[in-house]
Amino acid sequence: MKSLFGRRSAIVTVVIAAALILSGCSKSVNDSAGGASGDCGSWAIAMHAWGGYTASAQVVAEVAKQELGCTITQTTLDEGPTTYDAMEAGTIDVVIEDWGGGRWKDWTDRGAVVEAGENGNIGIIGMYVAPWMVEKYPDITDSKNLNKYAALFKTADSGGKGAWFEGPAGYTTIGEKMVAANKLNFKVIFSGSEAALVDGFLNAEKNKTPFIGYAWQPWTLHSKLPTLEAARVNFPANDWSDPAKASGLTDYPSTPLIKLISKKLNDANDPFTSLVKNFKWTNADQNGVAADLEGGMTAEEAAKKWIAANTATVNSWLGK
């Protein structure tokens, strides 16, 4: 039996080898289908996890494919250093939206990553309560009154204080600093994912349970909870001019969102390079596409819909 086993392995090997040789000789579908054409190269866009990012990245990808004939790969990976490393390694070429406020400095300093301007979206981060609470406790949106309501926010996990649901790990988060600087009786819970926050806000609104969590603009949740923006807690403004002072942070600043490209893409001067550099749209644009995504459209469909409705903007990116 042992020899038979050996022989069968040999047979399998021979047949697979034969199939491979045959496949090498036979005319492939590809020859008739024709590869990607045009003078645009083959590029990789980083796909970060949040809905708004997907909207921007997909629109750029669709325009590049349809109008420029580029070959676009979309790779899902974590934002921040992970992505910058991948850009340095040459596996990622575009980050279409980075909130990180200069965390890429080490990489841009040595020329591995290049800033490609603002993408037109303005990022606003803040702490928001469940919208129903504003009606019931009108003064809750003033941070000075938060401690008065802290007991409402208690959960099994918050150690007797109010539960403060922080944003996902990769996002700009200063919850602990805000709690300390504003002397709040809250415990920061690292909710870990956007999904947890979406759930948190929606369930709180539905069941009229107290909730305070990290939220931002542009974000798809606003289309589901139109009253959310009014539920933003106002903290005393803080001084961002001096980074050293900023450790006593009291609130998030608003951030123009930045595009980053790899050195390779920057040097290539490809049609895709100028598309990415020219890409710019508004929070409303992004929210529209993201809402379609949320509504069950695939990213491709949502992006194509927006592109068809906004030819003028698209043409301006293409320099037409």
Binding site: M1, K2, F5, R8, I11, V12, V15, I16, A19, L20, L22, S23, S26, S28, V29, N30, A33, G34, G35, A36, A49, W50, T75, T76, L77, E79, G80, P81, T82, D85, A86, E88, A89, T91, R103, D106, R110, A156, D157, G159, F165, A169, G170, I174, E176, K177, A180, V188, I189, F190, S191, G192, S193, E194, A195, A196, V198, D199, G200, N203
Partner: protein, 642 residues
């Protein structure tokens, strides 16, 4: 002796609780998440330098980067073959029909037609789930990692099988690799080899090589010695004995090792996506992020199908030789003819898959993914709608009754009190050497500056393990005593072991919200199958004569279980507890993604915030230290109880 030991344990726990109450809140070593100690910022700076050095340092230019390049290239070749468009092409070298044909033929040739049929249906199911390309990517990644693992593992295993010294040197590393939570070594690997297929392959290899080494050396060591002695007495050289006698004799066991290596690599498919592995992990992780339970399950099912496919096809190849009845002339002839026919069919399918578009790219219309996603979404929607009151109630009950008191005991006591407690436990359960080891490791965590977070993770692991053992021992006893129960439960246990924890992390998040308990519950689901299996085997291994004697003496079923079977299986149960702890720990740290905090969150945040990178790396090391402390104490306890 036994009584004294349990009194000692009770006494030290009491002292610990009293001291903890007395000194509550003192010397807890708590620092804010964004804060660095001088040690963590030092490590962070080193890590940043390392990133900067990638293009300059000789270690990178002449060592790491070539390795990365070679592995990346190797993976890419396999991917081009079956998964992604080959260079200058829009389709892979072999399209889906060709892959199905070839796998069917290969499985048929090495085992039976039934296994071949099963393999084909599983492959088609993956395609129908809309996961064809992801599945092929995962197969390519698994294949690359397994081939490389075997290339390293089998020779090393043979060497360790022949030489006691080598075995002694590699064993600690093998032990360490087995308790290493996967989340821990991904960051360091990605730091050196960067995000991508190479890092993912290397991370998978670290997980699967130890298994190849272990089983191969075991196979060589446990051979019947007489043929070897005969060969030696006839004057064979050592090399001849090895290649002509030992390896052929150990072959079947080594094939089993290949099977286990493949399974280890498959179980890594999802986690590897965190460091850029192409394949099924991608949709699973995306589903977690956008909380699409349906999508998570669709991809998760594909992972399970893939695991079953690879398991059955490789284990069938190993088992096939078990039959002692030689095939008749006619059977051989039939097999030969069908083999030729299927070979021809396989070749035709490859040919078609290169010439016809429908056979090259999986037709998008053939899909059941939306239906599957809808059904699971509806089911979870219903569960969330109706059961959340209960699940949240249960979560709160556990949180207030066990989790919070234990957490406050562990994290709000002074560090030296808890270290003393751990050392005392190690001393009582494991003896002096274990105690010294526990002391050194615990102090290392203290020095790292992450003691507070380690205590949070420790709390969750202990609570998770406790609940796991309650369920696991109950089910283990049931399946151990009842064949039918075992048969009914087995498929669920197998599926539970292959379904990636990330898949049910999503519904858990829905059930329990972003809390510590979500991580604990996920850890429990992940650990229960292995605990049940070990306990079940332990109960079955209890000699029948013991049970019969007890029955004859008129014991009730309950008495038999508590007085005979459980005490006799004590060692196995301790080992099961150890496995439970390690498994729960491995998943609890993933809980950082769902609000569990602790060391796992630091690892995750360290990956995405450069200023916390050092802290993340140290947190990974601290998780490992915790794991080793658990493992050493429990192993020593198990050794002593036998």
């Amino acid at each position: 002796m036994k009584v004294r030991k349990s009194y000692l344990l009770l006494a030290s726990v009491t002292v610990w609780i009293l001291l903890g109450r007395l000194l509550h809140g003192k010397n807890t070593l708590q620092i804010d998440t964004y804060e660095n100690t001088s040690f963590t910022s030092f490590v962070g700076q080193k890590a940043l330098d390392l990133r900067g050095n990638r293009t300059e340092s000789p270690a990178f230019i002449y060592f790491f980067n070539p390795i990365r390049g070679a592995i990346d290239g190797f993976v890419q070749v396999i991917r081009n073959l079956i998964a992604v468009p080959a260079p200058n092409s829009v389709i892979p070298v072999i399209g889906w029909l060709g892959v199905v044909g070839l796998i069917a033929f290969a499985v048929y040739a090495t085992s039976q037609w039934r296994t071949a049929l099963l393999s084909v249906s599983l492959l088609l199911a993956c395609g129908a789930l809309g996961m064809w390309q992801f599945t092929m990517d995962s197969i390519a990644m698994t294949l690359a990692a397994v081939l490389l693992s075997l290339a390293v593992g089998i020779p090393l295993g043979i060497w360790a099988g022949l030489s006691d010294r080598v075995l002694k040197i590699v064993t600690p590393f093998l032990d360490l690799a087995q308790i290493l939570p996967t989340l821990v070594y991904m960051a360091p690997i990605a730091l050196v080899f960067m995000i991508g297929a190479a890092s993912a392959t290397i991370a998978t290899m670290i997980y699967s090589i130890p298994i190849a080494i272990r089983i191969t050396s075991h196979a060589i060591r446990n051979l019947n010695q007489s043929p070897i002695e005969a060969a030696e007495s006839m004057g064979s050289t050592q090399k001849q004995t090895l290649t002509k006698v030992q390896i052929p004799m150990a072959k079947q066991m080594i094939v089993l090792g290949i099977n286990q290596t493949v399974m280890a690599a498959v179980s890594f498919v999802v986690v590897a996506a965190l460091i850029g592995a192409p394949g099924l992990g991608k949709p699973v992780i995306e589903a977690l992020i956008i909380r699409n339970v349906g999508q998570g399950f669709v991809a998760g099912f594909a992972v399970v199908f893939l695991a079953i496919l690879l398991d059955r096809s490789t284990s069938a190849a190993a088992k096939r030789q078990d039959s002692f009845i030689p095939p008749t002339e006619k059977q051989i002839k039939i097999k030969r003819i069908t083999l030729i026919v299927s070979a021809v069919l396989a070749v035709i399918s490859v040919f078609l898959s290169r010439t016809m578009l429908w056979a090259a790219v999986w037709p998008k219309e053939v899909t059941i993914a939306p239906q599957v996603a809808k059904v699971t979404n509806n089911a979870t929607g219903w569960i969330l709608e109706n059961l959340t009151i209960f699940t949240v109630g249960f979560k709160d009950l556990i949180s207030y009754s066990i989790l919070n008191p234990l957490e406050s005991q562990l994290s709000a006591s002074p560090w030296y009190v808890t270290v003393a407690m751990i050392v005392a436990l190690a001393l009582i359960i494991g003896g002096v050497r274990t105690a010294i080891l526990a002391f050194v490791l615990a102090m290392a965590i203290v020095v790292s500056g992450l003691w507070y977070e380690a205590m949070l993770t420790l709390t969750q692991t202990i609570v998770g393990c406790l609940l796991t053992m309650i369920v696991g021992i109950a089910l283990g006893i049931w399946t151990g005593r009842n064949d039918r129960a075992e048969r009914v439960l087995r498929p669920f246990l197998d599926a539970g072991q292959t379904l990636p924890a990330f898949v049910y992390l999503v519904p858990m998040l829905g059930l329990f919200g972003p809390t510590r308990f979500t991580a604990i519950a996920t850890g429990i689901v992940y650990a229960i199958p292995v605990v049940v299996k070990i306990v079940c085997e332990g109960i079955r291994a209890v000699p029948h004569s013991l049970v019969e004697a007890a029955t004859a003496a008129g014991s009730t079923t309950r008495q038999i279980i508590t007085k005979v079977q459980l005490p006799a299986a004590k060692k196995t149960i301790l080992l099961a507890t150890n496995q439970g702890l390690i498994y729960v720990l491995a998943v609890v740290v993933i809980g950082g993604f769902v609000g569990a905090g602790g060391l796992g969150y630091l690892v995750i945040v360290g990956n995405s915030k450069p200023e916390l990178q050092g802290k993340g790396l140290i947190a990974g090391a601290a998780i490992l230290l915790l794991g080793v402390i658990f493992d050493r104490i429990m192993q020593a306890g198990a050794r002593r109880s036998s």
